[in-house]
């Protein structure tokens, strides 16, 4: 009876989460809209991480700024440099997650890396020295238009990116079954090895006892 009831218990628990559960894990999502990096911290199970510390750092570990999430788990940080921003959220209870906003997402008008490079992008954009004044102003208009298109596209694809990000952490039934299979296999292996050792020890030849 008990031999049956424990597997039944496992099955009931499997059914309890409906076969598709989400990971219990803190996650961060962020995108840049213009120079503002906006995002939120959430749990794979659906809740938001409220009042958690947010640290913004460059890839080399220099802390660029700190903020906290609000009551909806949202945060906002105004980028001042065009570098990759590594955003780390710390739930203080051992939950930590980070997300990187690539430099490409930030507007080109921001200084990239060091301050000396501040003027470089505009110099590149005006291009050849022979460019006449009207051409330069058109380039300015083009830049505005491009920035507008970038912002608009970023806004449009944001829900998709959020969905993909959340989807990556979904646990599917085959993950669970795979894990159970590993445990079963390891148990069988241990049992078989123990039996072989026992047989070798006693010199008995009772082969059928090993099979279950």
């Amino acid at each position: 009876m008990t031999r049956v009831s424990i597997p039944v218990l496992v099955t009931v628990m499997l059914l309890m989460f409906g076969g598709v559960a989400e990971a219990h894990k803190l996650k961060v999502f962020a995108t840049a809209t213009g120079a503002a990096i906006e995002g939120y911290a959430y749990f794979g199970t659906g809740g938001r991480a409220r009042q958690s510390e947010v640290t913004v750092a460059s890839p080399d570990g220099t802390v660029l700024g700190k903020t906290t999430t609000d009551d909806e788990g949202n945060f906002r940080y105004d980028a001042t440099r065009r570098v990759d921003h590594v955003i780390t959220v710390d739930g203080r209870d051992g939950h930590v997650a980070s997300y990187t906003v690539a430099a490409d997402e930030l507007p080109q008008t921001l200084a990239s890396g060091g301050d000396a490079a501040a003027a470089k992008p505009s110099a590149e954009r005006t291009g050849a020295p022979i460019a006449a004044a009207p051409a330069a102003s058109r380039t300015g208009e083009d830049a505005d238009l491009k920035a507008f298109i970038d912002r608009s596209i970023a806004r449009q694809i944001r829900p998709l990116r959020e969905q993909i990000d959340a989807y990556q952490e979904k646990i599917r039934l085959h993950d669970v079954l795979g894990g159970l299979g590993y445990i079963l296999g390891l148990g069988g292996l241990a049992f078989g090895l123990a039996q072989r050792r026992k047989r070798a020890g006693t010199g008995a030849s009772d082969v059928t006892r090993g099979a279950q």
Partner: protein
């Protein structure tokens, strides 16, 4: 949280946790009677799946751990069972990191072993059903709370403020502890009636 991710703890804590878990697993495997291997595998499976049953508590979210129940039924053998289950949870679900695996095993398996001794002390020889059920409830609930306290302790040793971490982790786990206490009472109550030998009682 019970499953600590990578990059939170300091190196000495990681090394100590790995050493404790290795020693615990080694000792448990040495003691393990081969007849009990299927039992260990089944409880490893239960433990593995239990972490998927989760519910939101306040600003965070928690899930079942079931280390108390695992401990009651397995004693020292809870170490290898929890080690295998946690490894698979880390690899397949992303619960907890791989580098901190040793600490996570320690945090869940030590309370499990303590709960086994507690259960045996309270339940005695299993003749008194009331005492068996009380033992199951106490061990089931304490397993979770001890784990929460150990998580807070390792976070502190890695340079976090103990009180803040302890408050967050322990408070979030009180509901889990209550649920697991009730669950352990139900499971042990059933087992003590239909299969007392699993609990080490005379039939």
């Amino acid at each position: 949280m019970a499953h600590i991710p990578d990059g939170v703890l300091s190196a000495p804590v990681l090394i100590a946790g790995a050493a404790v878990s290795l020693a615990g697993c080694g000792y448990a495997l040495r003691r393990l009677d081969e007849e009990r291997i299927p039992e260990v595998a089944i409880l490893a499976a239960v433990f593995f799946v239990a972490s998927l049953v989760h519910f939101p508590v306040g600003p965070t979210s928690v899930h079942l751990i079931l280390n108390g129940l695992t401990g009651i039924l397995l004693g020292w053998a809870a170490f290898p069972a929890i080690a295998v289950a946690l490894l698979l949870q880390a690899v397949l679900f992303g619960f907890g990191g791989l580098v901190v695996l040793g600490v996570n095993i320690m945090n869940m398996a030590i309370p499990a072993v303590l709960c086994c001794y507690l259960f045996q002390a309270v339940a005695g020889n299993g003749a008194n059903r009331q005492r068996v059920l009380w033992g199951a409830g106490l061990a089931g609930g304490l397993g979770v709370l001890l784990t929460a306290i150990m998580v807070a302790a390792v976070l502190t040793l890695s340079g976090r403020e103990f009180f803040a971490a302890a408050k967050l982790v322990v408070v979030a786990h009180v509901p889990v502890a209550l649920i697991e206490a009730a669950f352990s009472v139900a499971v042990i109550g059933l087992l003590s009636r239909v299969k007392p030998s699993l609990l080490g009682f005379q039939a």
